[in-house]
Symmetry: C3
Subunit: 213 residues, 3 copies
Amino acid sequence: MPALDTTIAALSIAGVVVFAAAGALTASRKQMDPVGFILIAALTAFGGGTTRDVLLGAPVFWLRTPELVALAAGVALLVFFTAHLAERRFVWLLWADAVGLGIFAVLGADAALREGASPWAAILLGVITATFGGVIRDVVCDEIPLILRKEIYATAAAFGAGAFMTLHALGVERVAALGIGAALGFGLRAAAILRGWSLPTYRARPGRDYPER
Amino acid sequence: MPALDTTIAALSIAGVVVFAAAGALTASRKQMDPVGFILIAALTAFGGGTTRDVLLGAPVFWLRTPELVALAAGVALLVFFTAHLAERRFVWLLWADAVGLGIFAVLGADAALREGASPWAAILLGVITATFGGVIRDVVCDEIPLILRKEIYATAAAFGAGAFMTLHALGVERVAALGIGAALGFGLRAAAILRGWSLPTYRARPGRDYPER
Amino acid sequence: MPALDTTIAALSIAGVVVFAAAGALTASRKQMDPVGFILIAALTAFGGGTTRDVLLGAPVFWLRTPELVALAAGVALLVFFTAHLAERRFVWLLWADAVGLGIFAVLGADAALREGASPWAAILLGVITATFGGVIRDVVCDEIPLILRKEIYATAAAFGAGAFMTLHALGVERVAALGIGAALGFGLRAAAILRGWSLPTYRARPGRDYPER
């Protein structure tokens, strides 16, 4: 199935590029040096897939694809030299992250299926693949994780991965199911960014700060 | 040994329920949406055991037990719809976390022993199993980790796991050793919550904030 | 090659001692109890190497070397009882961390090479081995990761690991390459501490806090 392999390779490259860019933009918010840009870009681009591979007991994908590591490093350096041109870096960060979220949700679910995971586990691993890179990025950079913001985020990853799994179960061709799932996940997150869409959140009252320490 | 299997299954279920509840209560402090509740509940309930399995090179347990994942998701949704009924959610969180701490300390040590770990490694892996889910929960949710509070916490997990290992080495039946170890670990943590028990802490002076950045 | 084994064992012991001390000093800044000191010391000393082993799919090294775990615990307790003697604990922390950074960068790259990693992956895994223990320490302890400070940090680890790989590729004996690489990595970090050396950092403007949440 060369069409499938090509699709997966293209999606992987696109996902690494946008997540590396999101990581580098976070590094720019912290005024890091070029090595810091590369490190945070790599953590963002490879953190989610690495977690998935470790959970599945599969070989970590980027150790076998040095080109992807070089690509992430190149994107990081490009952002280092050009980020000042952007008017609002945080908005670029949000959109790069959203594209990666949609792509890695379906790629993660697909990889889990290939390793023999059950359908529910595949959706969960899709969500993990899509969100953990960003969580690691924000935790290491001492930023508030995007996943904690009230707009739809993990839900979009679950929606995209779920759509892919449903289409695949219905017999839709894998290439099409991957593309549609990624587009739907991205679309839901895009609506959340543009229109502030959110699910009903728990509202009784926020937690107070921890009492005496 | 069906009695042993039943005991382990019952302890696992109880541990997942209370840790999922603790995770969901943390999500409620952050006013997350239902998918956020499920994600944080799952991270809390499965984070420690997953770390243990990865360190041991064993298959990750929850990929083979979808019922436990469904259970954690169900508890998360139940908390989403009922947490406002609680007068003081943080107190519920502390107690749910304490029960899980006691249970997962002995389950973690027991699982490590079965994988051939040395006694000392088994105690350490018990502490990791009991505490890492909570640490991941608090780090992702941007809360101060319970492990940093001055009351006894990791010490209770070490005490419970150590008691289980000692009883087991003395020839006490595994079922009894598991139950007693879990009760002792929980009991020590309960005393720490109720009476503010703590070990002597380092008191010279706290660290100042980092100098110039 | 007994000389090589001796060198690696000696470097490992030295690295565990200084990283355990750096972890315990961080625990002292947080006024933790002795079990907390041991836990944070172990996380710091073993976090980086554990991440490397998990990524490589290799057995986690400290499960087979209980002496190293005991050593880290002993250092933690020693720091618990003596840290108040130090005039400026944060400075001791910085220097202990710097020594460990140099050592673990070359040990990590060397271990990756033995597991069959490519040269580029070996350098990256060296950087991960050298920096992740400290990152985990700072994230769990709610400190600002050293890696985020503007002075050269990850860059020093990359420099040391790269020097080791270059010397090794040029045919220099492994023992010498390890020692020189560790010394160069430490030296660069030492210059960064003493003279505030830093690479040009991204300076357009820092990120603003996240907008409305």
